[in-house]
């Protein structure tokens, strides 16, 4: 144990706790001991965990603010839905189709990440925040114009930019299926997502992020976060490493979005609005910047909380906000921090751990 590097140890402990959580929840779910309410949220929780971890890569580890992470989720979700519906007859195996769905979602979100990142990541300052904010809004409007269907001839795609087209203008054959109907979104998706897939998604996300962070590239990324000028002076290509982190983060968000997309039979572009981006940012901030397991715990807790507060009926979102504020205050309370600090052998070790994730 002593010989193992601290970063490796963190990674393995995080994997272990995720596997443990999965095993416990899976067993409980199979035994029918979970409420419907909770077991229905397992897949969205996995998606949000993955979203939070991937956003943490941009915000916590790269140190750039992204306010449009839901935009990447949207790209992944809708491309994933198209892929999964299109492959419905070609690939009968559900696990394989799910995997391909997520790969398609990740690939397209990565492309979107490159498009957004290439011009912006060359700049210094808060430009990424502004551009990603705009990106999220643009994606929403683009999906609202998107008409997609398929029949025996293949996929039909049209952009309803003038506002005068409807799904009938795609010219689908009899028996053709409309996948995305503009503002009505995807309304006939086959729901194929499962908790196991969600777990694999979270594990892959963690694996990718931990390995990136603990690699040479990861150290370069953190170096340029801490001091871009110093990093550049030792020969680190700033744009390249910024792109690496940002595009990885976008791709992982795309995969999470794809799984989310095939978990609900109905999905509208407005779901992935600014509020969703901020919600994911809240997961990251609450869990701690650069702290991956913190992001996951925050994502799970804040997804379950509104449902757990249903007994407050109309006031539940008010209670939710109060709980959120209390948690933020409590985690920053010096007295509480001291109490926690006394549990640890030395402050120094804590600082090391905090900077080392």
């Amino acid at each position: 144990m002593k010989k193992m590097k601290k970063s490796t140890r963190t990674a393995f402990l995080t994997y272990l706790s995720v596997i443990l959580m999965f095993a416990v929840m899976y067993a409980l779910d199979s035994a029918g001991m979970l409420t419907r309410s909770l077991s229905g949220q397992l897949v969205p929780i996995c998606c949000y965990m993955s979203m939070a971890v991937s956003l943490n890569l941009t915000v916590g580890i790269l140190g750039e603010l992204s306010l449009g992470h839901a935009g990447f989720m949207s790209v992944g979700a809708f491309s994933g839905v198209i892929a999964s519906m299109y492959m419905k007859d070609i690939i009968p195996s559900v696990p394989l189709r799910l995997a391909l769905t997520m790969i398609v979602g990740a690939a397209l979100a990565a492309v979107a990440g490159v498009i957004v990142g290439a011009p912006v990541l060359r700049l210094r300052g808060d430009y990424l925040a502004i551009v990603t904010l705009a990106f999220g809004e643009i994606i929403k409007d683009l999906v609202n114009c998107l008409l997609v269907g398929y029949d025996s001839k293949g996929l039909h795609i049209a952009m309803n930019l003038t506002g005068n087209m409807s799904i009938n203008d795609l010219g689908l054959e009899a028996g053709g299926v409309a996948i995305i109907k503009g503002a009505q979104g995807a309304t006939s998706t086959l729901t194929i997502a499962s908790f196991t897939t969600g777990f694999i998604l979270v594990m892959v996300t963690l694996f990718v992020v931990f390995n990136l962070v603990n690699s040479r590239a990861g150290r370069a990324i953190m170096a340029l976060r801490d001091n871009a000028i110093a990093a550049e002076s030792v020969g680190i290509n700033i744009t390249k490493y910024k792109m690496m982190a940002f595009v990885t983060s976008a791709a992982l968000a795309g995969a999470a979005g794809a799984l989310y997309g095939v978990n609900f039979s109905s999905l509208q572009a407005t779901k992935f609005n600014f509020n969703t981006s901020i919600l994911i940012l809240v997961f990251v901030v609450l869990g701690g910047l650069g702290n991956l397991w913190g992001s996951m715990v925050a994502a799970a807790a804040l997804t379950i909380l509104p449902e757990a507060l249903r007994q407050f009926s109309d006031y539940r979102m008010l209670v939710y906000a109060i709980v959120l504020i209390l948690v933020m205050l409590a985690t920053n309370n010096p007295t509480l921090k001291n109490m926690l600090g006394r549990l640890k052998p030395s402050k120094k070790q804590e600082k090391e751990a905090a900077g080392n994730v």
Binding site: G40, C145, Q184, T187
Partner: protein, 399 residues
């Protein structure tokens, strides 16, 4: 190291707490139907206390619909329970903020409670998401107000009380062709909303068939629903004398306000989403004078059923009920009628009740607030006549 250990402890504590709460609630849910089963009467006739679930946006921007549905259903349930017949209902309403994910959560929550029949959800997007779940779980679902055909298509156990979107679009176009022939029509619709887009699409294609002249089409989104000067100026300069608004009442109220301010006075024509505009807070009902809308329900109807409902609703909630409340009221009575036709007892599980009700739905006829002699096809769509009304002196009147 210690910190990571703490993380592990936190994670496992979370797991345990979830497991604990999971265990307790599910046992509560499973014991509930057994308790109500004790009241079930003789076999062959339906009896007992059935658990009805209602889902709708009780909070958020569409709250007026969800509240109306929850209140309307509650009034119907209270009436049925007060009558003391063989069938009694227990009602629970859950909030879904008109969001698909939250709506599925609300649905699961209601199932934990022991729901046997679902009256909801209220909005279209949420209903499509829940309908797929209800279809897989075999839970009978009757939505009062989700109007898209996607809600019912391909699902034998999902039924609607309101008109479908195509029905509304076609109905509006037909009405205009018949009664307002030769008018120049402008359409302003929300192109990121399934409901609005759906009606717009069918309206435009039916209008083309009927030879109606559409001179202007303006769009907006949820984010741009605060200023319509561009669309209104466009409609005005295109010479439109009729403006078709297949949208909800909040943006419509802004449109009416701005049109009034710029002195543009066309005939505004709405659909069922326009319903609710007269009771909107901070809106001057005088602005809605002369607005036409397609609705199956008018609170000013003089028949006894409507008047009783309106007075009961006013006593309970203080407002004049809108069409959504009436749809929900009818939905509860439709569920009652279908249950009577099946001979289900309240100790049966949701899936068994569902199968019986699916078979019974096409056979029943309901005389409700939103139509006389409503019948359902086995595809889930209702058959009833739409009615165009005009707002006069702050109330709906027949034109």
């Amino acid at each position: 190291m210690k910190k990571k250990f703490l993380a592990l402890v936190t994670a496992s504590a979370l797991a345990l707490s979830l497991a604990a709460c999971g265990g307790s609630s599910s046992s509560a849910a499973s014991s509930a139907p057994a308790a109500s089963g004790a009241t079930s009467g003789a076999a062959g006739s339906s009896s007992g206390t059935f658990k009805l679930g209602v889902i709708g946006p009780l909070t958020g921007e569409n709250a007026i619909y969800g509240q109306a549905v929850a209140n309307g259903a509650q009034i119907a349930v209270d009436e049925i329970n007060a009558e003391g017949g063989a069938i009694q209902f227990e009602l629970k309403s859950e909030d879904d903020v008109a969001d698909g994910e939250t709506s599925v959560n609300a649905y699961n929550n209601l199932l934990d409670w022991g729901m046997q029949v679902l009256v909801g959800p209220t909005t279209t997007g949420a209903s499509v998401a829940v309908a797929a779940e209800a279809y897989n779980d075999r839970v009978f679902m009757l939505t009062p107000s989700a109007s898209s055909t996607d809600v019912v298509s391909g699902k034998d156990n999902v039924f609607q009380v309101c008109f479908t979107d195509p029905n509304q679009g076609v109905g509006s176009a037909d009405y205009m062709a018949e009664n307002m022939a030769g008018s120049k029509i402008a359409v302003i619709y929300r192109n990121d909303d399934p409901y609005s887009q759906g009606i717009h699409d069918t309206f435009v294609s039916e209008a083309a068939e009927k030879g109606l002249e559409i001179v202007y089409e303006g769009t907006f989104t949820a984010d741009t629903a605060t200023d319509f000067s561009v669309q209104l100026t466009g409609a005005q300069s295109a010479g439109a004398d009729t403006v078709f608004l297949p949208i909800y009442y909040q943006p419509a109220s802004v449109i009416l306000n701005q049109a009034n301010a710029m002195g543009y006075e066309p005939t505004f024509f709405g659909v069922d989403g326009m319903d609710g505009i007269l009771t909107m807070e901070g809106f001057d009902p005088a602005l809605a004078e002369g607005v036409m809308l397609l609705t199956p329900f008018s609170a000013d109807d003089t028949d006894e059923l409507t008047q009783n409902f309106v007075s009961a609703y006013q006593a309970a909630c203080g407002d004049i009920p809108n069409q959504f409340a009436a749809d929900a009221y009818d939905a509860v009575y439709a569920v009652k009628a279908a249950l009577e036709a099946t001979g289900c007892t309240s100790d049966m599980d949701a899936a068994a009740i569902c199968e019986a009700m699916v078979a019974a739905m096409p056979t029943i006829t309901v005389d409700g607030l939103t139509g006389q002699g409503m019948t359902w096809s086995s595809t889930g769509e209702v058959s009833k006549a739409p009615m165009a009304v005009v707002i006069k002196d702050g109330a709906y009147t027949l034109p």
